[in-house]
């Protein structure tokens, strides 16, 4: 049976060249970078080389990159660390309602410790309006966090327009670029941000290696304390092989990102059209143009997401229902709620995210397999029955 992995927003396989780069650092060059002897030095040099490559991917200086263990950790570090270190200037924070929970939950925690947070809505295509940011800013505002691209609906936010506002006002601006990095160009100078999160396993790097860019001179309070690692800002023995892998993945991504955009968007467009031609009562979520090239988020009326996912799985096709991170929870996506998707259809959502391993034949296969699954489930659905009866009665 063909296997088609369409869940690259959840995680990607480690690129063979990345694994190759990592392998020497497990049992051979296994040193602790903090140690002064040659075995430690070798590890230290590997980490610093990885830092330079990782920095280059987002246009940062090596000294502005702090390694962490996940995108979620980078986001927690950014939101809490920047808020805590700059609270003498004010205690108001602005985030969007469609942020990942690793931004939204820290925001709630900060609210409990005396900060106030404004949660900005988006339009129906998931865009934050920069004017809304400008209006939300008060004298007390110290930090804005709006994601670069949304991981569910793929919408790419107007970060440059927002950073113009924050810079004018001297307010720190963090963006969660976990979903975008490696798939579209990400540059901290062009974006004009003060902090930026990204995560290796989202772009063919290893799990357990992520980064937070913090602009030189910006103060941040360490969240994992008690070590000299990462310039004293993040304690814990460095995960040397994973960081080497992140560096290699960054190098590959920097070289390939144009190709990735072209390749995946063309397959994505083919998939989208193929499904639109064959399935009625289907909604494409997210922005029609300002969207990640490999993202397709669709809601189907009258059917539920998990059951589609399970039937697709039986055909060898891997997709997510809603966001990867909430797919084991029962609640429907807060992102779809925010963009105003009808709650009934929100439960019938599939997130398909493409990658460089997918072929045109894979897409043909999905276009062949998905429509009958939707049809079969609709024929089992009381909601579909009601709709058909209403239609018949109207005729």
């Amino acid at each position: 049976m063909r296997t088609v992995y369409l869940d690259h927003a959840a995680t990607t396989p480690v690129h063979p060249k990345v694994l190759e780069a990592m392998l020497p650092y497990f049992s051979g060059k296994f040193g602790n970078p903090s140690n002064l002897h040659d075995i430690g030095r070798e590890a230290k040099n590997a980490v610093e080389e990885a830092r330079a490559k990782t920095a280059a991917l987002v246009g940062a200086a090596p000294g502005e990159i702090y390694f962490t263990s996940s995108g979620a950790e980078s986001n927690n570090f950014a939101l809490k660390g920047l808020a805590q270190a700059n609270s003498q200037k004010g205690k108001h924070i602005i985030v969007s309602q469609i942020e990942h929970f690793s931004i939204l939950h820290p925001a709630k925690t900060l609210e409990k410790s005396g900060f106030t947070v404004t949660y900005l809505p988006t339009d129906k295509e998931g865009l934050v309006n920069p004017d809304d940011v400008a209006k939300a800013i008060t004298k007390d505002t110290i930090l804005v966090s709006v994601m670069h691209a949304n991981n569910e609906i793929g919408t790419i936010e107007p970060i440059e327009a927002i950073s113009k506002i924050t810079r004018e006002k001297g307010i720190l601006f963090h963006t969660d670029a976990v979903a975008s990095t490696g798939w579209i160009p990400v540059n901290v100078e062009t974006l004009g941000v003060d902090a930026l999160s990204f995560s290796g396993h989202q772009f063919y790097g290893p799990k357990g290696a992520a980064a937070l860019f913090v602009r030189k001179g910006v103060r941040i309070k360490p969240q994992i304390e008690g070590g000299i690692q990462e310039d004293g800002r993040r304690a814990g023995t460095e995960n040397v092989p994973a960081l080497v892998g992140l560096g290699k993945a960054a190098e590959l991504a920097a070289a390939e990102v144009g190709n990735r955009m072209r390749y995946t968007s063309q397959l994505r467009d083919k998939l989208q059209k193929g499904l639109q031609d064959r399935i009625e009562d289907m909604v494409i979520n997210g922005h029609p143009v300002s969207r990640l090239p490999h993202n397709l988020n669709v809601s189907f009326w009258y059917v539920e997401g998990e059951s589609m996912l399970l039937f697709l799985n039986m055909e060898g096709i891997s997709v997510s229902s809603g966001s990867a991170c909430t797919s084991r929870s029962l609640k429907s996506s807060h992102v779809l709620t925010c963009i105003g998707t009808d709650a009934a259809v929100a439960n019938g959502t599939l997130l398909m995210t493409l990658g460089m391993g997918n072929s045109a034949e894979d897409i043909d296969y999905v276009i062949e397999k998905l429509p009958p699954i939707v049809q079969r489930l609709r024929e089992m659905s009381p909601l579909y029955e009601d709709m058909m009866k209403k239609k018949a009665a109207a005729r």
Partner: protein, 142 residues
């Protein structure tokens, strides 16, 4: 989430008794698309015995499997026997359900009770059916 048992996957992939019954003796619809599950259960009753049961369900794997199982369980039972079919019995017959999916078995019991209630109403008889507590969605029993 724990994995679905092979029995659940079986009933999900090849559900029994899918469909409508024309002129059913009892029909019950429970749940809410907003919450992610809607079940509709049809029964045919002859001489106080459920001779046929069918369902339509909008919902997750467990919702479909519990619908399939509950219709299997009640076929051939008397009304009184059917009234005693509990959500626990449905879950057990499926080899267990993941904790977060136990509410689906509650929904299946509700659908059955709702269909039986409808049967009594259609007959013009006072219904002895007690609907289970409306706690389905937060249910976290094992």
């Amino acid at each position: 989430m724990e994995q679905y048992s092979s029995k659940v996957m079986d009933h999900f992939a090849h559900p029994h008794n899918v469909g409508e019954i024309e002129n059913a003796d009892g029909v019950g619809t429970v749940g809410n698309p907003v919450c992610g599950d809607v079940m509709r259960l049809y029964i045919k009753v002859e001489n106080n015995i459920i001779t046929d049961a069918k369902f339509k369900t909008f919902g997750c794997g467990a919702a479909i499997a519990t619908s399939s199982m509950v219709t299997d369980l009640v076929k051939g039972k008397t009304i009184d026997e059917a009234l005693k079919v509990s959500n626990a019995a449905v879950a057990e017959a499926l080899g267990g359900l993941p904790k977060v999916k136990m509410h689906c078995s509650v929904l299946a019991e509700e659908a059955l009770k709702s269909a039986l209630d409808d049967y009594y109403k259609k007959k013009g008889v006072a219904s002895p059916v007690k609907m289970p507590a409306e706690s389905g969605h937060e249910h976290d029993m094992e």
